[in-house]
Subunit: 298 residues, 2 copies
């Protein structure tokens, strides 16, 4: 057993999946649910996902050797302020946030000196939200990126690595800023684009919008799935990874303008040459995937 008593703060898709995976693996003696919504606490107890559930964060973390933040990253500051007084010496605080540098900046100054902070980000999810949407297999075969600080206790980090590996993820150590840049490209920008294009479609006049929904196969349907992700979580991602997102968005805009121009002036060579080049990246992605066991959902 890796931990005695784990508190999970925020029982949405990721928090409830983590609780299910920990329970299934017998990785903790006890799981505490902390959620600001009493209805979620009640639901978690009804689903049997935790041994106790409370809206009182400082009470919930009492005697825990691990606390995992699974709330939108914009809420970290308030959550840490609410629970810091309950943390016992030697406790490990970790998280699952999609942004890492801003999280470190928000959490670290508020933590007691005798508590270990190990930031982490499992790269998995679905477009569904809430405690009922979770499932124990969510992290299987997926990466979990750990972004320790120079001063992070090595044994604390190893325990977090062991936790994620025990529930089927592949752990990778990375610098926080590098994480934010890479994820800005692979995850944040695609989400922003998908939200934009679905938003553009939703502003069409009714008749056209109905047809767009009806004939939504062929690209757009994939975008609507991505754009159905949790709004608050994603709002916080963009607000907290602003620099990397704006930087990559600028490059994207230049490239899109270039294609727009090629279309306007009938420059087929530019289009075909890019469309051929992008196949290389796809091949890389497929090859990279061959190293990992297939996951149930992406």
């Amino acid at each position: 057993m890796l931990f005695q008593r784990i508190a999970i703060v925020g029982f949405g898709l990721i928090g409830s999946s983590l609780a299910r995976a920990i329970r299934r693996g017998g990785l903790a003696q006890e799981i505490v649910c902390i959620d600001r919504a009493q209805a979620v606490c009640d639901r978690v107890m009804a689903l049997g996902l935790a041994d106790m559930a409370t809206v009182d964060a400082a009470l919930g973390v009492l005697d825990c050797d691990l606390v995992v933040l699974c709330v939108p990253v914009g809420a970290y500051k308030n959550v840490i302020a609410a629970l810091a007084s309950g943390l016992k010496p030697g406790c490990i605080v970790s998280d699952v946030g999609s942004v890492k540098q801003a999280v470190i900046d928000a959490v670290l100054p508020q933590l007691p000196a005798d508590v270990h902070f190990v930031p982490a980000h499992p790269i998995s999810g679905t477009e569904h939200s809430g405690p009922d949407a979770g499932f124990a297999e969510l992290f299987e075969g997926r990466w979990c990126i750990i972004t320790p600080l120079p001063e992070t206790d090595i044994r604390a980090m190893e325990k977090i690595v062991a936790l994620w590996e025990a529930i089927g993820a592949k752990a990778e150590i990375m610098d926080a800023r590098r994480h934010d840049l890479v994820l800005g490209i692979t995850s944040h920008l695609p989400h922003l684009i998908a939200y934009t294009i679905v938003g553009t479609a939703s502003d069409l006049e009714t008749h056209t919008k109905d047809d767009v929904i009806k004939f939504s196969a062929g690209g757009f349907r994939d975008f609507t799935r991505i754009a159905a992700s949790d709004p608050v979580m994603w709002r916080d991602v963009f607000l907290n990874n602003r620099e990397a997102v704006l930087e990559i968005l600028q490059r994207f805009n230049e490239d899109l303008t270039n294609l727009q121009r090629a279309i306007r002036y009938g420059d087929g060579d530019t289009l075909e040459s890019l469309f051929t080049r992008t196949r290389e990246i796809r091949r890389g992605v497929i090859q990279a995937k061959q190293e990992v066991p297939p996951a149930k959902k992406a």
Copy 2:
């Protein structure tokens, strides 16, 4: 049996899937493969997808009561020029192109007066190309949009509707320009965006690009799949649906700039409000899908 002798011009993903579906349904006495590549003709015969195969288009269409163009839309003009002399009176010419008005403009002036033209577009596909990539179930439960002209012979149109319904598709009649606008949104713009974002990623310095490929879950992987689609087919789509694509791209750009501004100035309300609104569209898409039988591949 719906047709005596069907010529399919271009045996890529769509052409070869159509041949397989026609053969499986026993919908024609004979299938002729016309492809400009002798290697494709040989492969088609080896796979048993046609009764004869030829690179000579005018020869291939002899005595056919149906000819279906399954080549990139930019090739229509030359293909029609090559085969028009072989078409017998009363023959129906149809197609599967992703763009409809430009196709009508290219094909109609070149066809003999005693030949019927019924433009069609089955909304289905995968990112794979070539005669081996096809499968008979590709069109099951999918829409096939037919865009007849005011002068189109009603019985010719009904035979094309019957063909697509016999292979499992749902036929829908639509004006060509409306088709081009709707598909510009649901298919062409998403493909353009996906090609752009994967292109942007492929221009990153090697170390970052490797990480982007490695951690490609979470949006980007879906984009790489879309951006692996046939380069020549998509080049022709953008060149031949220029007006609709540029118009919708303009709206998309305005919306993206608005979000970019919201990120820069930390305007969380604008972000959250859009991210909430896009869920409505997703619900519509899911409801629309419930009306159709599940397809094997999208």
